[in-house]
């Protein structure tokens, strides 16, 4: 990244609440993600993790609180505008373009980076051709990086679940995001696939310096790879800190092991 990065946290969530009718899915949650960090958001089912992520990426809008990206308020943006700011994401249930090849899927991640005349593009001529080739080269680097060369031409819908998740990560990376949001990147994977995914997440963080916020169920994984852990329960934040501290926290243990809620 050549341009100087502004100081301060990449993402700041301040007192955000999201509700659906009478249900308050996220209740006055605040958290901040510092540049270059991997922050994990964990919590039992229904804790509001995905809702929070959807609020950050513009799919939901909080009814109170504010969300700032690189110091600028962007509480009310729509998903495409959020993507244009440099926030890429993956989905819990894998949202790939199933009929398109893996390569085309990843190329769609470059759409925001493409410019120029439609006429030239239609003729595949001059600058348009050069541009297409440049983007293609970048995408090939990501394909190498995530070790999916063998399936480049396969329609995404035919791949096994673990690989689909990897392709989705590749598409998100193709946008060269400043902030990467991963919704349960390891859900439904076997141990080996989980290890691979952990390695990729750490590599992305180290090599590209990408800031990452991820949701994960698997406590072991979370403790291994994250710099900070935020714990949600029933829509509220109950803990926030380095993994070692959070692990010892009594409220977290109660939430996970089960304690009667009054």
């Amino acid at each position: 990244m050549s341009h100087p990065a502004p100081a301060g946290p990449v993402l700041e969530v301040n007192g955000v609440s999201v509700r659906f009718g009478a249900l308050i899915a996220v209740n006055q949650v605040s958290l901040s993600v510092a540049r270059g960090q991997i922050v994990a958001i964990i919590g039992p089912n229904g804790a509001g993790k995905t809702t929070l992520l959807n609020a950050v990426s513009g799919f939901y809008h909080p009814y109170e609180g504010r969300i700032a990206f690189e110091g600028k308020d962007r509480t009310r943006l729509q998903p495409p505008d959020v993507a244009a700011l440099g926030i890429a994401r993956t989905f819990q249930n894998v949202a790939l373009f199933k009929g398109m090849s893996v390569l085309d899927n990843i190329m769609t991640g470059r759409l925001l980076k493409m410019r120029g005349s439609f006429l030239l593009e239609a003729l595949y001529w001059g600058p348009a051709k050069r541009q297409e080739l440049e983007h293609r080269a970048f995408v090939e680097r990501i394909i190498d990086f995530l070790e999916i060369q063998a399936i480049r031409k396969t329609p995404a819908g035919r791949l096994p679940y673990g690989l689909q998740k990897r392709v989705e990560l590749a598409r998100a990376l193709a946008a060269e995001p400043k902030l990467l949001l991963l919704d349960e990147p390891m859900a439904g994977m076997n141990v080996e696939e989980k290890e691979d995914m952990c390695r990729f997440i750490l590599d992305v963080n180290h090599e590209f310096g990408t800031t990452i916020a991820l949701i994960e169920h698997d406590m072991g994984v979370v403790m291994d790879i994250s710099d900070r852990v935020v714990v949600l329960d029933y829509g509220r934040k109950i803990a926030d800190g380095p993994p070692a501290e959070v692990r010892k926290d009594q409220a977290v243990r109660d939430a996970y092991l089960g304690v009667a809620h009054e």
Partner: protein, 312 residues
């Protein structure tokens, strides 16, 4: 028995060989009709690709475009001005449809969107006739409806102009949607709305673009059909002829719409002229549907359709 086989399998081809100039005329007529079907089918394909919506109102959009054009011409607007205004009206319509019909229904099941287009169909039909009147209108765009003869083949000037216009338009659209980044964005939107949004594709813009293009296609179709047979309510029924074209070509394929249209146009004209007398005529009326039915049984995704991939 052998007489019957002779009449079905041999005699028609002997007729064709016996009068080649006439055969060429029939083929030209078929290609003309086929390109017109392709134009209408293209309107369906574009919208279906971008939003997964089967736009029941496409036929009425053709009627509405033609009515608007005729209405403006009747009020004394020059052809160029009337055309430009009609394009503006169709783009405005696309905006309105996105805002009033599609946006509130984002993430609803496709059947809901389909029902919405049925509503749109009735609205446009009523609104068009209210604004411009329901009587049959003559559309005169200054191309004479006369014929000239090349090497013994009679060619109608109006049909030729229409065919060339349609061919150019169809080629441009195919290029645009197959190779530009809008084309890629379009395919992405067709596949998964949420994912498309998350990678920065503005759904609303894509929809407005696609409905506008479908509107412009409707203008050209309305113009050509209208010039040939007058602007009246039955114009909206050519949408019914586009359905077999879609089944033949595949719902999400631009080349499919073109090839499907040509096959049906040429097929029904040949059938009518050479095999029609055997069954007392009117083959033209049902040929397309029978062919579509056969295709549904053998190749339901159409000639160019994408095979539906589903992991089980």
């Amino acid at each position: 028995m052998s007489d019957l086989l002779y009449m079905v399998l041999v005699a028609p081809f002997k007729d064709m060989a016996g009068a080649p100039a006439f055969l060429v005329e029939v083929l030209i007529g078929g290609v003309f009709a086929g390109l017109m079907y392709s134009l209408v089918a293209l309107g369906f394909v574009l919208i279906y690709k971008a939003s997964g919506v089967f736009n029941f109102a496409q036929g009425v959009m053709v009627l509405f475009a033609a009515l608007t054009l005729v209405g403006l011409l009747e009020r004394g607007a020059p052809v160029v001005v009337a055309l430009a205004l009609t394009v503006a009206v169709m783009v405005g319509l696309a905006y309105a449809i996105e805002r009033v019909v599609l946006r509130p229904l984002v993430n609803q099941p496709q059947i809901i969107l389909f029902m919405a287009t049925i509503g749109l169909n009735f609205f446009l039909e009523g609104f068009g006739e209210m604004a411009w009147g329901a009587n049959v209108k003559k559309l005169d765009i200054g191309i004479p409806d006369r014929s000239f003869i090349v090497r013994g083949v009679q060619i109608n000037e109006l049909e030729l102009t229409a065919a060339v216009t349609a061919a150019v338009l169809v080629t441009l659209l195919a290029l645009f949607f197959q190779t530009t980044r809008i084309g890629r964005a379009l395919r992405a939107v067709a596949d998964d709305h949420e994912a498309a949004l998350s990678i920065g594709i503005p759904l609303k813009t894509i929809w407005v673009v696609v409905w506008s293009v479908a509107g412009v296609v409707a203008i050209v179709a309305g113009l050509m059909w209208g010039a040939k047979s007058g602007v009246q309510f039955s114009l909206s029924l050519i949408a019914l002829k586009a359905l077999p074209v879609l089944i033949l070509g595949g719902f999400e394929s631009v080349p499919g719409a073109i090839v499907g249209g040509l096959i049906i146009g040429v097929g029904e004209k040949l059938g009518e002229v050479y095999w029609g007398p055997l069954v007392g005529g009117a083959i033209e009326n049902w040929f397309a549907y029978v062919l579509a039915l056969a295709f549904l049984l053998v190749r339901p995704q159409g000639l160019f359709g994408e095979k539906i991939i589903e992991r089980v």
